[in-house]
C-alpha cells in the first residue's frame, strides 16, 4: 500500500512539474531550459505571500500570473527570433535561466527561504499513515491535468493550438493568429511551471537553484511523451514507478538517475517514446 501511494504521488509530482514544459514543447517545438527558473520564480511567489502575511494558497494564482507575465516577456524578446533555430533556443533559455537565478539571488539572497506548509499532518489510509500533502499533490496533478486537457479539447485557444501543431501554414491561412497562439502557449507553459513551484514548496528547499534539479527529469519525461498529454501521464507513472521501485529495492542513488537513463534508452528504441502519434 505504502509502495503504491509512493508511486502514485511521485508520478503526480513529476507530472505537475513537467506539464508546463510539455505545453511549450508540444505546440512550439521549443525546449524551454528556463523551465527550472520558472519553477523557482513560482516558489518565491510563495515566499512573497508569506512576507505579506497572506493566506499561503494565494501563492497559487499569484505564481500563475507572475509566471505567465514573465513568460510573455521572454516569448516576445527571446523565443520569437529563435523558432527556426530550436537548438539555439535551448541555449538561450538556459542562459535566461542563469539570469533569472542570479536576479533572484540578488533580490532575495542565497539563503534557504522559509515557506508555510500548505497542508500538514498525515492521513490514515487503509492502515498506513501517509503524508497529507502528498495526497494533495496527487489531487493537484489530476486537477491540473484535467484542466489542461479541457483547455486543449474544449476552448478556442486549444483548437487553434492543435491547428498550429498540425500545420502552421494552413492554420495561418485559416485566419488563426499563430503568433498570438504561440505567445499564449508560452505564457501558459511558464505559468504552469511557476504553479508547480508553489506546489513543490512543502516538499523542497526554496532557494535560487531549486528548479534546476527538476529540469532534467522534466525534460526527459517530455521527450518520452513527445508532446502528448496522455503519453506524459503514462511516462510519469512508468518512470515514477521505476524510480520508486529502484530506490526501494536497489538503491536511491540508482533511483535518482533512473528517469534520465531509462528515458534515453526508451528513446533509442523508439524515437517517438510513449506517444502513438
Amino acid at each position: 500500500m505504502l509502495l503504491i501511494l509512493d508511486v502514485l504521488t511521485t508520478a503526480a509530482v513529476l507530472f505537475v512539474v513537467a506539464i508546463g514544459l510539455l505545453a511549450i514543447f508540444g505546440v512550439l517545438k521549443i525546449i524551454n531550459f528556463a523551465h527550472g527558473a520558472w519553477i523557482t520564480v513560482g516558489a518565491y511567489c510563495a515566499v512573497v505571500t508569506t512576507h505579506l502575511g497572506l493566506n499561503p494558497w494565494v501563492a497559487l494564482p499569484l505564481a500563475f500570473v507572475v509566471g505567465g507575465a514573465l513568460g510573455a516577456l521572454s516569448e516576445l524578446f527571446i523565443i520569437r527570433p529563435l523558432y527556426r533555430r530550436p537548438l539555439d533556443a535551448i541555449l538561450a533559455t538556459w542562459g535566461l535561466g542563469i539570469v533569472i537565478g542570479q536576479l533572484i539571488t540578488l533580490g532575495f539572497g542565497r539563503d534557504v527561504q522559509l515557506t508555510p506548509n500548505l497542508v500538514s499532518g498525515t492521513v490514515n489510509l487503509l492502515g498506513v499513515d501517509y503524508s497529507a500533502y502528498r495526497l494533495v499533490a496527487l489531487a493537484a496533478a489530476i486537477v491540473v491535468g484535467v484542466a489542461f486537457a479541457a483547455t486543449i479539447e474544449g476552448t478556442r485557444l486549444g483548437l487553434s493550438a492543435r491547428a498550429v501543431i498540425m500545420n502552421e501554414t494552413l492554420a495561418r491561412g485559416l485566419g488563426i493568429d499563430t503568433a498570438r497562439v504561440r505567445l499564449l502557449t508560452f505564457m501558459i507553459g511558464a505559468g504552469l511551471a511557476a504553479l508547480s513551484g508553489v506546489l513543490l514548496t512543502p516538499l523542497s528547499s526554496v532557494d535560487p537553484n531549486m528548479g534546476v534539479g527538476w529540469l532534467i527529469g522534466a525534460f526527459m519525461l517530455v521527450m518520452v511523451a513527445n508532446g502528448s498529454l496522455p503519453a506524459l501521464a503514462l511516462a510519469c507513472l512508468a518512470f515514477g514507478a521505476a524510480q520508486v521501485l529502484i530506490s526501494t529495492f536497489v538503491s536511491p542513488i540508482l533511483g535518482s538517475i533512473a528517469i534520465a537513463v531509462l528515458a534515453a534508452l526508451v528513446l533509442r528504441i523508439n524515437p517517438k517514446g510513449f506517444s502513438r502519434a
Partner: protein
C-alpha cells in the same frame, strides 16, 4: 560611546606609526570561501567573523606591530573555483597565510597551491577527517569528536537500540555515517538501515517509507548543508516522522530558517550561540555591535574562523615573524581561549575540542542539552608529528 572613540584614535595612531615604517607592511590573510555555490548561505557569516577578528586585533595594536589585512576570494564552493581563488591569493595578492572554511573538494583543490606556494593554511570547517598536509592545520571537529555525543545521548537518554542512517552521497555524508555505524555497533546498538541520495537529489519518498517500515528507535542524518538538509526535514515532517532525530550536518542558521519544522532535532557541535561563557558573550556582543541588523547568526563554521585568526596571531608572535616554516613550527604549540573555550591544534594538526549536544527549540534557537569536555580528535594524521 567614548570607548569606541578611544579605540578609533588608538587605531589611527597605530596606523600612522605603521605607515612611518616601510618594513611594517600589513600581514595579509587570504580567505577563499564559497561566496557563490553550495556554501554561499554560510559564507557571509564566515566573512563577518573574520572581519571582527581582524578589527579587534588591529585595534589592539596588530601583530608584532604590523596590521592585519583580509583578502576575501570566492571559491564557488568547488574545486575549479578554489584553484582560481588559491592562485589569486597566493600569487597575485601575496598573502602570508590562508585561513578558510571550505568544502572538502575546494580544500583538496587548494592544497597543491598551498604546498607549492609554501604558505600556512588553517582549515576552519568541520569535515570527514584524515586530510593530512604538513602546511595545513585544522581547528574544527572530525567525526571522532562529533558523533559519540549524539549516539551516547540517544542510547542513554532515549533508550535507542536500533538506528536508521540517512546521508547525501558525498565524501562528508559517507564518511560521517561510516564512522557513526562503526561507533553504534561498537557500543552495542544496531543499524537497521543506511540510505543515500545524490547531493542534488530532492525526492526522499522511498527512503522515508523505508525508514517508517524499519521501526528504528532513532534517526541520524548527514545530508549536505543547505537544500538537501531542508528538503529531507520538510519531507520527514510531512510524512509524520517523530522519532528522535539528530542531524550531523546542520548549523544553527539553517535550523533557524526551517522554523518550526526543525523543532526537537538534535545537533552536535563545537559551537552553539547558547554557550554560557564570558568569551562567548563578549564575542556575540561585539558581533552584534559591529554588524547590527546585517548580522548573520554566528555558527560552528564562523566561530572557528574567528579563533583561527587569533591562533595565527599567536603563532606569528611566537615565531617572531611571518616566515612560513617558523609559523608552521609554532602553530601546534599555541592556543587561544575563544567563544568555544580553549583551542589548540596540538594533536596531529587537529584540535581537541569541547563538544555540545543541542536541541532545536520551537523558535529555531538551540538549547544546550549536555557538554562533553576536551574530546580528542583521535588518530587523524599519525605521520604528522
Amino acid at each position: 560611546m567614548p570607548i569606541r572613540h578611544v579605540v578609533g584614535i588608538a587605531a589611527a595612531l597605530a596606523l600612522s606609526t605603521a605607515l612611518a615604517r616601510a618594513d611594517d607592511a600589513p600581514i595579509v590573510i587570504g580567505v577563499p570561501v564559497g561566496l557563490s555555490g553550495a556554501n554561499s548561505v554560510v559564507a557571509p557569516s564566515v566573512v563577518q567573523s573574520s572581519e571582527l577578528a581582524v578589527e579587534e586585533i588591529n585595534a589592539a595594536g596588530g601583530v608584532l606591530g604590523r596590521k592585519l589585512r583580509l583578502e576575501i576570494a570566492d571559491d564557488a564552493s568547488g574545486a575549479a573555483g578554489a584553484q582560481k581563488a588559491f592562485d589569486a591569493l597566493i600569487y597575485s595578492k601575496k598573502v602570508d597565510v590562508i585561513i578558510s572554511m571550505e568544502t572538502s573538494a575546494a580544500r583538496n583543490a587548494g592544497l597543491p597551491a598551498v604546498t607549492k606556494g609554501r604558505k600556512p593554511f588553517i582549515y576552519t570547517s568541520f569535515y570527514e577527517g584524515r586530510s593530512c598536509n604538513k602546511n595545513m592545520f585544522v581547528n574544527a571537529w572530525v567525526p571522532e569528536q562529533q558523533v559519540p555525543p549524539v549516539v551516547d545521548a540517544f542510547t542513554r537518554d532515549k533508550g535507542a537500540k536500533s538506528f536508521f542512517l540517512i546521508g547525501s552521497d558525498y565524501a562528508f555524508g559517507r564518511g560521517m555515517l561510516a564512522f557513526t555505524r562503526a561507533y553504534i555497533e561498537k557500543t552495542g546498538g544496531r543499524v537497521v538501515g543506511e540510505e543515500y541520495l545524490p547531493m542534488d537529489g530532492s525526492d526522499w519518498t522511498s527512503t522515508i517509507s523505508k525508514l517508517k517500515e524499519s521501526k528504528a528507535d532513532a534517526l541520524i542524518t548527514s545530508t549536505a548543508g543547505g537544500a538537501p538538509n531542508v528538503t529531507l526535514i520538510k519531507q520527514l515532517r510531512g510524512a509524520g516522522v517523530s522519532l528522535p532525530f539528530a542531524n550531523l550536518a546542520v548549523d544553527e542558521g539553517t535550523a533557524k530558517s526551517m522554523g518550526a519544522g526543525a523543532e526537537g532535532m538534535y545537533l552536535s557541535a563545537s559551537y552553539v550561540t547558547g554557550i554560557d561563557s564570558p568569551e562567548n558573550k563578549k564575542f556575540l556582543a561585539a558581533m552584534k555591535s559591529k554588524f547590527g541588523g546585517d548580522l548573520r547568526t554566528p555558527n560552528d563554521l564562523s566561530v572557528p574562523q574567528y579563533e583561527a585568526i587569533y591562533l595565527y596571531k599567536a603563532a606569528v608572535e611566537k615565531a617572531g615573524g611571518t616566515d612560513a616554516s617558523k609559523v608552521l613550527e609554532a602553530l601546534p604549540t599555541v592556543s587561544f581561549t575563544g567563544p568555544r573555550s580553549l583551542i589548540g591544534m596540538s594533536k596531529q594538526h587537529h584540535a581537541p575540542l569541547t563538544m555540545y549536544l543541542g536541541e532545536v527549540q520551537g523558535d529555531g534557537s538551540v538549547k544546550v542539552v549536555s557538554t562533553f569536555k576536551d574530546v580528542d580528535p583521535g588518530e587523524q594524521c599519525p605521520k604528522l608529528n
